[in-house]
């Protein structure tokens, strides 16, 4: 079959186009499902093409073990996808990143041991491509594992800062670059099967793995959305590097798409937190820095916190015409999204306008709150982005802040000493009444005190978000 190689190339092109359409489909909720189908179709085309390509040149590939591997992996993936709770999406995403990283490392080492494709070109370039693939793969792998651990709670969310960490990081990066010299110097695997450079490659992989761990350990909990986005980006670049290594354009295209996607998400998240990407990458942010960990507002008198109980709140809500709900990670933790949805439906039945305001970094994953609300059955057209709703807040009667803290902190606007100064926030305090549902007076992930709690139009409803919401729904129903 002389036409097979060109046919395979055409199939790769088709798959690449389908992937692009797949991402393009996500531009709106209406087209998103079709986009996902495009993605699946692209993947199917790609798999068939690559399986066909292995028989090029009259080889008789061993399909059985490969199919078995796909079945095993596919089954694991399918089970995970079906079982995962929507609140645990960040963990799942992080775990999936780590698999890409690990697969890239394995493929890289395998390619070094058996450079089968031999596409021509210089050996040095080929070796460097392997080196880059393994390096990126290892960083992605361990970084994602740590991110998963932090999100899961297995590893503390607080940032771990070892003294002189920038020096340590720099030293590791230099060592990784330096090890390339003996690796390339030792050259490719010899005909007899000796792999002289393997030791260097593995040493570098270990270093890169440590670097990945260290980098993500240093990043604090509030920055997790950025970290997950960044790792998303890394996993893309890793796939692209694998594409260079294997001279496979489909891998390169796909990797570049995923890489840009992650990069853009990271950028959006950084903008939403008023951080530079470097400050996140270098770590140490999103933590209680220096002395600002005292929960009292830094300027002015601390003021009085005014608690409210469920019945009083129900009374206030009965009079309200415009209500906005600001969900945060606390809602996800308490699994309160279904009650929040019931509350919303109830308010709308009573004739109030109820909408949801989503801050870009609410939750631990970009768009996390949207998914949770969608899961609970909240129609997406009443779920608004921060920029869409911020101006309306001053005409809102009641804002209900559920398990959010830093994203509604007025200090971000006017307190220059605040670590989150300059971060765009939801101006909930401009509304008639703000009710904050919170477990206690603890600070948010950024470890910053929130002057909102002391404002004269703020009321605090202490307790678990789920319990409070269920009591509130009951109180509203009973009247």
């Amino acid at each position: 079959m002389d036409s097979l190689p060109t046919l395979v190339s055409a199939a790769y092109l088709g798959a690449a186009v389908l992937f692009i359409l797949s991402l393009g489909g996500l531009s709106s909720q209406e087209t998103a499902r079709r986009g996902n189908v495009y993605g699946m179709a692209g993947m199917a085309v790609a798999l068939l093409a690559v399986l066909a390509s292995t028989s090029i040149g009259g080889a008789s590939p061993a399909y059985l073990p490969m199919v078995a591997a796909v079945v095993v992996g596919g089954a694991l993936g399918a089970v995970a996808a079906a079982r995962v709770a929507m609140t645990s999406m960040p963990q799942l995403v992080a775990a999936l990143h780590s698999f890409v990283g690990l697969a890239a490392v394995l493929v890289g080492v395998s390619t070094y041991l058996h450079p089968s494709h031999a596409a021509g070109g210089s050996e040095v370039v080929a070796l460097l491509e392997i080196y880059a693939d393994v390096c990126l793969g290892a960083i992605t792998f361990t970084g994602s594992v740590v991110a998963w651990g932090k999100l899961q709670g297995t590893i503390s969310g607080k940032s771990v800062l070892i003294p002189g960490r920038h020096v340590v990081n720099a030293a590791m990066v230099l060592a990784i670059v330096g090890l390339a010299v003996p690796f390339v110097g030792d050259g490719m695997v010899t005909a007899s099967g000796d792999a002289p450079g393997l030791i260097w490659l593995l040493a570098m992989a270990v270093l890169a793995a440590v670097l990945g761990i260290h980098a993500v350990l240093a990043i604090g909990g509030a920055d997790m959305p950025v970290v997950v986005s960044l790792l998303n980006s890394y996993s893309g670049w890793t796939a692209a590097a694998a594409g260079f290594m294997l001279s496979n354009d489909l891998l390169i295209v796909t990797g570049a798409l995923v890489g840009s996607s992650g990069a853009i998400l990271s950028y959006i998240m950084c903008e939403a937190m008023n951080r530079s990407i470097w400050s996140v990458v270098l770590g140490g942010f999103g933590t209680s820095t220096q002395a600002s960990s005292t929960p009292a507002p830094s300027a002015g008198q601390p003021g009085e916190v005014q608690p409210v109980d469920v019945d009083q709140l129900a009374g206030v809500l009965k009079e309200a015409k415009e209500v906005v709900v600001v969900p945060g990670y606390g809602m996800a933790v308490a699994q309160a999204q279904h009650l929040v949805k019931d509350f919303g439906a109830l308010m709308r039945e009573r004739g109030a306008t109820l909408r949801f305001a989503i801050h870009p970094v609410a939750g631990r994953l970009p768009g996390h709150m949207n998914v949770l609300l969608a899961e609970a059955g909240v129609p997406y057209d009443i779920v608004l982005e921060m920029d869409e709703i911020n101006d309306d807040l001053r005409r809102t009667d009641v804002v209900l802040v559920i398990g959010a803290n830093d994203i509604v902190n007025p200090g971000a606007l006017d307190d220059e000493s605040s670590p989150i100064y300059g971060m765009p926030v939801l101006h909930v305090w401009e509304s008639g009444t703000v009710v904050v549902l919170k477990r206690g007076m603890a600070t948010g992930y950024a470890g910053v005190g929130n002057p909102l709690f002391y404002k004269s139009n703020t009321r605090m409803l202490f307790g678990d978000a789920k319990d409070s919401m269920s009591a509130l729904v009951a109180a509203l129903r009973s009247t």
């Binding site: 998103a32 993947m43 591997a69 996808a81 058996h114 840009s260 853009i264 998400l265 989503i358 969608a374």
Partner: protein, 525 residues
């Protein structure tokens, strides 16, 4: 150049085309101003005030018309009862006139003016383009009539507008329905809100919603897809089904509200009938309807132009002189619009009717007696159809970000050449040292990054989590590497590593796509 300001002769017209203040400005534009005696009497501007501003007061009406180069008026020319002469005949041969004309309805006046070889600019025909906004008397007058409509309504309404809680009892706020959220409608909304009423408004144009809501009123909606945005920011006529749905809405609203203000006008057509007699009868006793479209037939079935009538205890106000009832400010706005127009036309020293000037060309009815109306059609739709009337500025001014923005842009200005330089160096390095296949792949890589960049920005933020899941899935494409490495079937380390990679990547492929599908299924309206 001499400007004449005659006294308006239309019965009940209290406005005047210039105030002492605008006389001053006309003079600084290089005009000599002649004002007929008592021209500003009913707008409370005395002859002395005009004289103090530098105008020459002329007693003789005919002399004023004949001795000046340009007449500025409010109303279109009509018969002057006192002189028993038509004002057009007072205008000298080849004279110039700027006033309201309504050439569509007043063809006879236009023909008389043409016979006098006059040059005429109709203020009502100033096109609705943003540049001409400051000359648009219809907007400034609508603003006034909208406000005055509420004042007239409150005069006939036997209750409070704002809710009251006093020792003597409690009242709920009045409910006001404003139909048509153009300049007049928005101004009525603002005035009613200012008095404390609860206001709801309806408009066929979807663009009006935001403006209505920005004034704190509720925007009423039909469950019906049709946008009534017509040319130049006016409404257009809607389909029969739409009108039926609309009427049902009004009927329901009439039973609830205390005050109705209708402002629906369609250019060069009789105004649409929106409030039927049955709806009026369904309203609460003491309710008030103000029909701002009364002059063109009215939006309410029982409206009588220029009169206040009562139908089953509901007062229907059909005044067509609402602006005249606020003559002082109306004259001031009118005069200011004229100043802007004359400034645009070159002032007193370089006065010119410029046919290239879109604002002037649109409003030009006659040029030396030649008919210039209607002007050639403009194709581009008006970008900003209706500006909301000037309302109280919001309590908190927006946070100034100008300096920050300029700082950022300065940083970007520095960054851009730097980045270009780095990119150029990288490309040169690649060209010098990389091998052919690598460069080919690199080309694909860079182009893909750009495609990705473009595609991802269009993803809606609400779908960022599914985006991550789907990119998880497609980055499982690394499975290709595993397959290529393990296809030989040999039992060696390379193949086994490849197989493990396949397992890992398959988890991504299947897990990613399936979880994305699960999430996307949940999103519904």
């Amino acid at each position: 150049m001499k400007i004449g300001i005659p006294r308006e002769v239309h019965p009940g017209e209290r406005r005047v085309a210039a105030t002492p203040q605008t006389v001053r400005e006309l003079r600084s534009l290089g005009f000599d101003v002649y004002v007929e005696s008592n021209a500003g009497r009913w707008a409370r501007y005395s002859d002395d005030a005009y004289a103090g501003a530098g105008a020459t007061i002329i007693e003789d009406t005919a002399a004023l018309w004949s001795s000046t180069d340009l007449i500025l008026k409010v109303r279109q020319p009509e018969h002057n009862e006192a002189l028993d002469r038509h004002e057009v005949d007072l205008l000298p041969e080849g004279g110039r006139l700027i006033s309201l004309i309504f050439p569509g309805q007043n063809q006879d006046v236009v023909q008389r003016l043409a016979a006098r070889k006059a040059s005429v600019i109709a203020l009502d025909c100033i096109p609705r383009i943003s540049r001409a906004q400051k000359m648009d008397v219809l907007s400034s007058m609508s603003n006034i009539s909208g406000y005055r409509a509420i004042i007239e309504a409150s005069h006939h309404f036997g209750s409070f507008f704002g809710g009251q809680i006093t020792a003597a009892g409690k009242t709920r706020p009045a409910r006001v329905l404003v139909i048509g959220a153009g300049v007049a409608g928005l101004s009525a909304i603002a005035a009613a809100r200012g008095l404390g009423a609860e206001v709801r408004a309806f408009d066929t144009r979807a663009a009006a919603r935001e403006q209505v809501q920005s004034l704190g009123a509720t925007f009423l909606e039909l469950d019906f897809e049709e946008d009534g945005e017509g040319a130049g920011g006016y409404g257009k006529q809607m389909s029969a089904a739409f009108i039926e749905a609309e009427m049902a809405l009004f009927a329901a609203q009439c039973e609830e509200v205390d005050i109705v203000v209708t402002t629906a006008l369609i250019p060069n057509k009789p105004s649409p009938l929106l409030i039927t007699k049955a709806m009026v009868e369904s309203m609460k006793p003491g309710s008030v309807i103000v029909d701002l479209a009364a002059e063109r037939g009215g939006n309410c079935e029982v409206t009588v132009a220029d009169k206040t009538v009562e139908v089953s205890d509901v007062t229907i106000i059909g005044y067509t002189d609402l602006t005249s009832r606020l003559a002082t400010h109306a004259s001031e706005f009118f005069g200011n619009n004229l100043i802007h127009l004359l400034d645009d036309m070159g002032g007193g020293d370089n006065f010119k009717i410029d046919l290239e000037d879109e604002a002037v060309r649109g409003a030009l009815v006659l040029l030396d007696g030649e008919s210039m109306w209607p002007p050639p059609p403009r194709t581009a739709p008006a970008a900003a159809p209706v500006k909301p009337p000037p309302v109280e500025p919001p309590d908190d001014p927006p946070i100034p970000t100008g300096s920050d923005a300029s700082k950022v842009s300065r940083e970007r200005n520095l960054r851009r050449p730097l980045l270009s330089l780095v990119a150029a160096c990288v490309l040169a390095g690649l060209g010098l040292f990389a091998d052919g296949p690598f460069l080919q792949h690199f080309t694909v890589f860079v182009l893909s990054c750009f495609v990705g960049w473009q595609v991802i920005w269009s993803v809606t933020p609400a779908l960022h989590t599914p985006l991550m899941a789907v990119t998880n899935a497609i980055s499982g494409i690394i499975i290709v590497g595993g397959i290529l490495q393990s296809a030989r079937g040999a039992v060696d380390l390379a193949s086994i590593l490849g197989l493990i990679a396949i397992v890992m990547a398959s988890i991504n492929v299947f897990g990613g796509f399936l979880v994305t599908q699960r999430m996307l299924k949940m999103f519904h309206k």
